[in-house]
């Protein structure tokens, strides 16, 4: 699956949920499978400080493809991170830097990416893209 197809597949998964509860239960489940960063590696330069929840992000390039590792102290934030990682992992830096990231809005989670939300996610998406740009 390419970048857009991966995003469309998530949108399709989310379209099956009938209410907010099912949606959030799913996000919380996803939060449990995010690529965790070991405690001892959580240095300050990986930390993205939000007003509410904290996010740690690390990226690697392997064979010209981006791989991200992340964690958060809040499970809902972690769930959303997990979705971002599913979409971005294995993509080339140029795809991540240039192609549209549209699924968050389509699945009704754009509020989590608003600057007022202060959960560090908006900053994280920016940093994921910046890390990709550095590797083009």
């Amino acid at each position: 699956m390419n970048y857009s197809e991966k995003q469309n597949s998530i949108i399709e998964d989310f379209s099956m949920f009938e209410d907010w509860m099912e949606k959030y239960e799913f996000i919380i489940e996803l939060g449990k499978e995010v690529n965790l960063i070991p405690e001892q590696d959580k240095s300050d330069d990986l930390l993205i400080e939000g007003c509410q929840s904290r996010v740690w992000l690390k990226s690697e390039v392997n064979n010209g493809q981006m791989y991200y590792f992340a964690d958060s102290d809040a499970i809902i934030t972690k769930g959303i991170i997990s979705l971002l990682i599913k979409v971005m992992n294995g993509e080339t830096p140029s795809t991540i830097a240039k192609e549209n990231l549209f699924f968050i809005e389509k699945i009704g989670l754009q509020e989590h990416l608003s600057p007022t939300r202060a959960n560090g996610l908006l900053e994280m998406v920016k940093r994921m893209k910046m890390d990709a740009i550095k590797n083009i």
């Binding site: 919380i28 007003c51 509410q52 102290d73 499970i75």
Partner: protein, 411 residues
């Protein structure tokens, strides 16, 4: 908790004056429990803003035309309403600011410029960042020493420690009347008297108390009192700094500009009298006028009844929360207002707040701009519910159901 018919009717009457309370959020009836962050606005305040722009808008204090005179009259009359309500010795002691933060910064900048190296300022460990950072800046600029009055685990100020910290070098004690995070009501009467005994001035941060308490400035005898309009049913962007005129008169101006001057020349500029000396530039005219209207609303309330109502809500909510597993209430001072901060086991406050929001409940989560206090309790943040005059026991019942649901989903 008793809900007499007569009493219910008065709360219903109050609720009907707040249009936003009939709004739906995420398809559900809004329950607004974030009153420590900001209060909702009654129709009278909303209409006053509308009316000002429709019929009165003009700049004040300088125009000879009808609109300017009318706007000036209304703005100054609002100052008078507020000064009278708060029992200030003189209306000129009521200075309009942008809010609590602005008021504290004004004092830190102006009163602070009269302090010298080695002078001490005391604040408590439960202060909002607004009552910490301006003093830290002053520490760097003027070499004053900022000292922190410790608190007990239950969220009460350690008065023994306070007494020991006061000395002849103490120039200012700046404490919150009510903690925005813990709800603790501090013994400010005693704090003020003890500070005065060593010759220190006292600034009271009234951001939280202005809505819950009937403030009598002359009886309190504090030197400065600051609050924000938006926390007391008024608009954002307007607030009040009260200061005793004999101190304000000694203080240099804060900002320079229009309105604050008497005469300007390139050789020498002289400054206007109080309160204008501290109100440079075109002020937030509509904000001031609407804040006056908010105080008219306050006057219409029966404070004794409402105080009882809020105490009932507090007691009921705390009792019910304590029945749930793993609830930890942060802030258990004996004298407390209707603010409850709590955590549920190891669950993150942000997760619970998000799931409550999905169910139409407005609560606050996070560190509430009191990070040192969070460090004291060794927690990243709390979930905070805070009540106002329009909240009901029924809303608390609905909240408890929603909270249980959030906990279930997260567990």
């Amino acid at each position: 908790m008793k809900d007499t018919t007569e009493y219910k009717a008065s709360i219903e009457n109050i609720r009907s004056q707040f249009p936003i309370l009939s709004k739906k959020v995420n398809g559900r009836d809004l329950v607004y429990f974030d009153n420590a962050a900001t209060s909702q606005k009654p129709y009278t305040v909303i209409k006053r803003i509308d009316n000002y722009y429709k019929n009165e808008n003009a700049n004040i204090h300088r125009g000879v035309h009808y609109l300017s005179q009318k706007a000036t009259e209304d703005y100054e009359s609002a100052r008078n309403i507020i000064g009278t309500y708060l029992n200030a010795a003189d209306t000129s002691e009521i200075i309009f600011t942008k809010g609590t933060t602005d008021g504290i910064n004004l004092i830190a900048s102006s009163f602070g410029s009269m302090l010298n190296e080695g002078d001490e300022i005391l604040i408590s460990a439960m202060e909002h960042h607004s009552n910490i950072v301006p003093w830290q800046l002053l520490e760097t600029q003027r070499g004053i020493k900022l000292r922190i009055i410790p608190i007990h685990e239950n969220g009460e100020i350690d008065m023994d420690a306070y007494n020991e910290m006061l000395n002849s070098k103490t120039k200012l004690v700046s404490v919150t009347h009510i903690s925005n995070t813990l709800g603790s009501i501090n013994p400010i009467g005693e704090i003020i008297d003890k500070a005065h005994a060593v010759g220190a001035k006292v600034l009271i941060d009234g951001a939280q108390s202005i809505q819950h308490d009937q403030i009598d400035l002359m009886a309190l005898n504090c030197d400065f009192f600051v609050f924000s309009g938006h926390k007391v049913f008024g608009p954002t962007g307007i607030g009040v700094l009260y200061g005793k005129s004999e101190i304000l008169n000694l203080m240099p101006p804060y900002q320079g500009g229009g309105d604050m001057i008497e005469k300007v020349s390139f050789e020498k500029t002289t400054f206007n009298v109080l309160p204008f000396k501290f109100e440079a530039g075109t002020p937030n005219i509509v904000g001031g006028i609407a804040l006056g209207e908010a105080f008219n609303f306050l006057k219409s309330l029966n404070f004794n009844e409402l105080h009882k109502h809020e105490m009932n809500l507090l007691k009921y909510a705390e009792e019910e929360l304590n029945k749930l597993d793993n609830i930890r209430i942060i802030g258990t001072a004996k004298n407390k207002t209707s603010v409850i901060s709590f955590n549920v086991g190891e669950l993150h406050p942000f997760d619970i707040g998000t799931l409550l929001d999905k169910q139409g409940f407005a609560v606050r989560t996070g560190h509430h701009c009191t990070q040192p206090l969070m460090d004291f309790y060794k927690i990243p943040g709390t979930i905070r519910i805070s009540f106002s005059v329009y909240n009901t026991k029924q809303e608390i019942d609905l909240f408890l159901i929603a909270l249980k649901k959030a906990i279930d989903i997260l567990s």
